[in-house]
């Protein structure tokens, strides 16, 4: 199958048997593709004794620790074909991941994001409030994960307003004018979790302001660790938000720069959902064997998207639990799961967490 054909499948409409068969087949192709096009990857596959014959299911595809993209430059296209290099948002002193994109993979990332998010937002584009400052996308030469996230989501916005100025101050008057101009329309709000908390939620509360956002959907992501450290739970986050902007719909998402495009969005039942184009496998820390549903372990993410770099099977530094497959009450097919935290000793990292490091 070409990735075009994969993407033509409904994002949340392929049941287990068909999906797992497709994943195994396509992940195997990707593994062999990267073996042929990325010499360091090929050596790793030799070292682990990879043999296509021993792959009976998607779980048998060798995974790379996500950290490897910080330590090595892994690329499956020629240098000339790379047209964008994405980096994770590392703070000073931390190493950043480097992800090499050619046109094909970059375009597929955007297309995939559209397929997944449209399932939540519908096909029409909405007035969009971005909880960040305009300068985050201004430096085009250095594209952080934060800028890339905002830009990727910008496609869902019609008119856009940055809610903060470059001094990170909430522009309440401009927001009120924007909301008045779009009265009666559904509004999309996008931002990184820590930004939304620190510069939107808390800023509104401190100013004693309330915004009429009953008819809005807020999509946020980028890490909970910093808020967890402040003892802000997802439920408290949601409650605080609704206190300052009414019964706004809130959806968290899980995703990482190493697999941009394939994000996992939270449904109304609080479950993160894997789309047709990617999957999650939870592994036991003791021996990396796949854990049964309901058991806590290390999250591996697999995706059929990465072609310009060997990032199709990655072991993250997050812990989670797969809750079930194909039977979430929201009706979406595929696995659903939750993230329970970061592995101990893993570096503090994540788009919003990196920024949060400056707020200690």
């Amino acid at each position: 199958m070409t990735y075009e054909e994969v993407l033509a499948l409904p994002p949340f409409g392929v049941a287990r048997e068909e999906k797992q068969a497709m994943l195994k087949e396509e992940l195997l192709h990707l593994t062999q593709y990267h073996q042929a096009h990325c010499a360091p990857y090929a050596r790793m596959m030799d070292t682990v004794g990879f043999s296509p014959r021993r792959v009976g299911r998607a779980e048998d595809i060798p995974f790379l620790p996500v950290r490897l993209f910080k330590e090595m430059e892994l690329c499956s296209v020629t240098k000339e074909a790379v047209f964008k290099t994405m980096t994770s948002s590392g703070t000073t002193g931390q190493q950043v991941s480097k992800i090499f994109l050619d046109r094909e993979t970059a375009t597929n990332q955007q297309k995939t994001l559209v397929r997944i998010v449209s399932d939540w937002t519908g096909r029409s584009r909405m007035p969009m409030l971005i909880i960040d400052c305009p300068s985050v996308v201004r430096n085009r030469a250095m594209f952080s994960a934060r800028g890339a996230g905002i830009l990727g989501f910008s496609i869902f916005g019609r008119k856009k307003l940055y809610a903060l100025n470059d001094a990170m101050e909430l522009q309440t008057d401009a927001i009120r004018a924007f909301l008045a101009e779009h009265a009666g329309e559904r509004i999309l709000i996008f931002g990184f979790t820590f930004m939304v908390w620190q510069h939107f939620c808390k800023a509104l509360k401190a100013a004693g302001e309330r915004l009429p956002l009953e008819n809005a959907v807020l999509i946020h992501g980028g890490g909970w660790k910093k808020l967890a450290a402040k003892a802000v739970s997802p439920a408290a986050f949601r409650a605080a938000l609704q206190e300052v902007c009414g019964a706004v719909e809130v959806a968290d998402y899980y995703g990482m720069v190493e697999q941009t495009g394939c994000i996992y969005l939270e449904c109304e039942h609080g479950h993160l959902h894997a789309s047709t184009y990617s999957d999650v496998i939870v592994r036991r820390a003791a021996d990396f064997s796949p854990a049964p549903f309901g058991e806590r372990g290390i999250i591996e993410v697999v995706s059929l998207l990465p072609k310009s770099y060997p990032g199709h099977a990655l072991l993250t530094e997050d812990e989670g639990i797969v809750l079930g497959e194909d039977d979430c009450p929201c009706g979406r097919k595929g696995k659903y799961f939750k993230v329970v935290g970061r592995l101990k000793h893993a570096e503090l990292r994540g788009c919003s967490d990196t920024y949060a490091a400056a707020f200690k």
């Binding site: 047209f83 964008k84 046109r103 375009t107 955007q110 297309k111 559209v114 449209s118 096909r123 029409s124 584009r125 996308v137 085009r140 830009l151 910008s154 496609i155 869902f156 019609r158 008119k159 856009k160």
Partner: protein
């Protein structure tokens, strides 16, 4: 001003190139038409023609030429 002129003007103003130059442009050919420039281009075109494009069309909009084809779907007329 014809719609074609209006369309070309959006490109020339945004990318600071001549009309002849923009007619050959593809996405990512020049620094200005990167992913940030792309979203600005789309907003400018939507404003100029008072239309709202679908996400798929925004992704497929990969050149000046291709854009003409896409905008026809939204009732923009490029006939001389």
């Amino acid at each position: 001003m014809t719609d074609l002129e209006k369309y070309t003007n959006v490109f020339t103003e945004l990318f600071a190139k001549s009309a002849d130059e923009v007619k050959k442009l593809h996405y990512q050919d020049i620094l200005e038409w990167d992913s940030v420039g792309h979203m600005t281009l789309i907003s400018s075109l939507e404003e100029a023609f008072d239309i709202m494009m679908e996400t798929d069309d925004i992704i497929d909009f990969e050149s000046y030429e291709k854009g003409i084809e896409i905008l026809k779907k939204y009732g923009v007329s490029f006939d001389a």
